[in-house]
Symmetry: C2
Subunit: 507 residues, 2 copies
């Protein structure tokens, strides 16, 4: 049934229905479904339209047909398992009761969040739970801490514990900078505020001199990595330093999570020690203009209780950790918005049109800017069905080079006894290499090109010729930027078939 009328995938739909069954309240369902907000809106809209869901002005209910769908998807039982005492975070604030009180007091009169800066602030308890966790992990006492973007006023909460050696804030919003500075002065706290954008280079005195960073990065695929890198730049080299950041499933699909996690682990000697879903809860915006109110009854009125949640991550550095070099982040709104962004819903006059499928795009955009000189494809061909590859190899290589728009400078094919071979092709645009172990029906292929020549074409022609039943390939960007593997290691299995359309005559 689900597949016939709804555009959400089966597992997305199950997540959404489970949240609705558990919460009833549409905003709370949106906050706990673990789906990008545009997908929630799309799903609720379709479920209502098709009579699977009903809205009574307060809560969403499954209709009889909706119940049948819930049975089919296995979402009839959606227990509340969040511990009431700690809001499901596991963190008790008892030790921090006095600091919490003072922080709440100090935060009064704070500037209202601005959508232009991707703002929105956490509840008092949520900020304090972060601070409590950081203290318990040993990342606060006697430490130099930097907060990159501080609409949550976490710097005040950290400094109020009396434990950090120093607290530094970088914040673009002048209103927040002034507020933090004044509050710090009032409370006698030692906080240094740099009022500037994170897209600029960091002041050099901040590079490599902190033990701990805290940030809530923008959640576009490119933006998140760029902003998190700013945190890593600030850390000291070596082991035992920590980075904390919040990421949502409300503004990100988990395809993006995969890319971020993989890239962070590839680039840095760090490990993820904590991923705490729904650890942080955000206060509702008080300015009605900032409230997402799409043209859909369940979401037409502002949420009555905080609903927007984020997952709190902690990473810890290993002995080999080195802070990366600083750079200027180029780019405008695209760093802050993509198809998962919550803004997509309320900025568009037509909800349906605003929704784009949140597909996984595993290849991150170049980093930090386009500094690629060459593209290098590394391919493994297994179970090659062409058992006499040497016969037409020279012609195929020449053909492949032509097809790719490259220029052949030199070719060397060497035959090994009994029947292995290596081929090296020098191109004006770099090289092609093949190393074949026919006894294993295996060929190792490298194609490295620069300029306009397309290495993919060469790999495809060779694949058609050698006919591997299975293959895997990765692409490396070679040049002046960091060494990056894109996309994910990919293994393809073909059904055996003769694909020879791309072969030249006579081969």
């Amino acid at each position: 049934m689900a597949g016939e009328i709804l555009t959400l995938g089966r597992s997305e739909l199950a997540r959404l229905l489970r949240a609705i069954v558990r919460e009833g309240d549409p905003w709370q369902a949106a906050g706990t479904a673990g789906l990008p907000f545009p997908r929630v809106v799309e799903g609720v809209q379709q479920l209502l339209r098709h009579g699977l869901l009903a809205f009574d002005g307060q809560r969403l209910h499954l209709t009889d047909r909706g119940q049948a769908l819930a049975r089919e998807l296995g979402v009839q039982v959606a227990p509340e398992i969040r511990c009431a005492a700690c809001g499901g975070t596991g963190v008790d604030l008892g030790f921090f009761a006095e600091v919490t009180r003072r922080y709440a007091e100090l935060a009064q009169g704070r500037p209202e969040p601005l959508a232009a800066y991707d703002q929105g602030y956490q509840t008092i308890d949520s900020v304090m739970r972060r601070v409590a966790l950081m203290v318990a992990q040993g990342d606060v006492e006697g430490k130099d801490i930097i907060v990159l973007g501080d609409d949550d006023l976490a710097s005040l909460a950290l400094a109020l514990t009396g434990l950090p050696r120093s607290v530094v804030v970088i914040e673009i919003d002048r209103r927040l900078c002034d507020f933090i500075e004044q509050a710090a002065r009032r409370a006698g706290l030692n906080i240094t505020v740099y009022c500037r954008s994170l897209t600029e280079r960091l002041p050099t005195e901040l590079l490599g001199r902190f033990d701990t960073f805290l940030t809530d990065p923008t959640e576009t695929e490119h933006g998140l990595l760029l902003f998190l890198e700013k945190g890593f730049m600030c850390l000291r080299k070596g082991e035992g330093h920590a980075g904390y950041f919040g990421i949502t499933r409300i503004e990100s699909n988990i395809g993006k999570w995969h890319v971020w996690q993989r890239e962070l682990l590839s680039r840095h000697a760090i490990t993820f020690t904590h991923i705490l879903p729904d650890f942080s809860l955000y206060a509702n915006w008080e300015d009605p203009d900032e409230q997402p109110i799409p043209d859909l009854p369940p979401f037409a009125r502002p949420a009555r209780t905080p609903w927007y949640r984020s997952t709190f991550f902690r990473v810890e550095t290993l002995p080999e950790f080195q802070p990366p070099e600083d750079y200027v982040i180029e780019g405008g709104r695209e760093l802050y918005e993509d198809e998962d962004a919550i803004d997509q819903v309320w900025r568009s006059p037509d909800v349906d049109m605003a929704i784009t499928a949140s597909v996984m795009t595993p290849a991150p955009t170049p980093f930090p800017t386009q500094l690629t000189l060459g593209r290098h494809i590394i391919a493994e061909f297994w179970k090659c069905r062409n058992r006499e590859p040497l016969r037409g190899l020279k012609q195929v290589l020449e053909h492949a080079v032509r097809r790719a728009g490259a220029t052949l400078l030199n070719m060397k094919i060497h035959r090994f006894v009994p029947d292995g071979f290596s081929a090296l092709v020098l191109l004006a645009e770099s090289h092609i290499s093949l190393h074949a172990w026919p006894e294993y029906a295996y060929v190792a292929v490298d194609v490295f090109t620069c300029g306009e020549a397309d290495p993919e074409v060469i790999v495809e022609v060779l694949k058609d010729y050698l006919q591997p039943e299975e293959s895997a390939q990765i692409t490396l960007e070679r040049g002046l930027g960091p060494l990056m593997v894109l996309p994910a290691l990919r293994v393809e299995t073909e059904t055996p078939s003769l694909r020879s359309s791309a072969l030249p005559m006579g081969v």
Copy 2:
């Protein structure tokens, strides 16, 4: 002070002291320090010996000198932040009260854990909290679930909820298999038990047909990946499936965590959605022979309360997920034990001698078995200080090939106008390629060798010759196994200095 007399690193020592300050009880400190157990024992021993710590027969206390060290390390404040209501897990078991009662009843008379099978079981509440989390995430109702190794009897708890479509167990210990089967029969639960080792191939009917797996893998670097792969083999392809597993910091350093996380993200279209430290608590072994009792007073008596904890991970599959192919795991005890293993302490007559530094070893052993035909190093040399690299290049390449024990078959050096160049060297053992953009002081280097020839030597000689101020390299294992990147992308920055000792005469 710390550096003078103690062998633990500063951040390890801080973790240990913080746990001691917070817990007092030595076993609880060991369970919450977030350090491999051998490191805890080593640290406590040294702190006692040097008069920084005292043991009163029950609890550990800092001496005055210990207090000074605590001040220096920033570990004077070590608050208890675990919510008492949920044991710091955030999970309330109220909904599962009746299932918990029945599970506790059913688990009575369970077989005692065997060290030979790396056993040890979780408390009743810990198992139920895992089950509650899995249910809340939608990974139980209507799902096919496989439990790989079940000394915790989690299969019984899962089946008792009445929610799964099917529960399958693979377990090597005949006593446990019999117990689970009998208990399931008694309670009218539908659980299928396969009594066999995970090192064998899985029964083909189990491959690719589950929605959810749960396992507590052995924690050696190689073993963990091999056993977790068995879980991924059992999952259906596509999105929304889940894997759950427990890993400790008590038997693993976080260098191993880094390798595991990186490798899992490289191999599979999955993302980490939960990393919940200290989520699972283990009952103490009741057989005194199984109790770790090193020759050190604080640990000489068995723990009085459960202390051994693990971190609970959840991974979720993306739309692109494909279950990997099955294989036989070869290897003996080394899959179960390494220098972090808790066994290392109590199996050795001399505690001091048993302790090996837990250094990070980023390169995992080949996977799944040795199927590598070649090693391929991809190196980026940036800011090369040798501005006339063409002058001695031929000699350096010949020298490098000799040094590596390889055989040169053919060399082609091509100069581009104004001063770029490419060099291709055909070896009996594969190839070397260099592509240089002198205008960017950048050289792209590939060294691919098979057999005994060492590609690292060639890269080192070229590095000495080209003198990059910065470089990065990755190593690929090429051959019949999965395409793997090892170790992490590595960026090195050298202080400018002339390193020419490895150069041949006349260059």
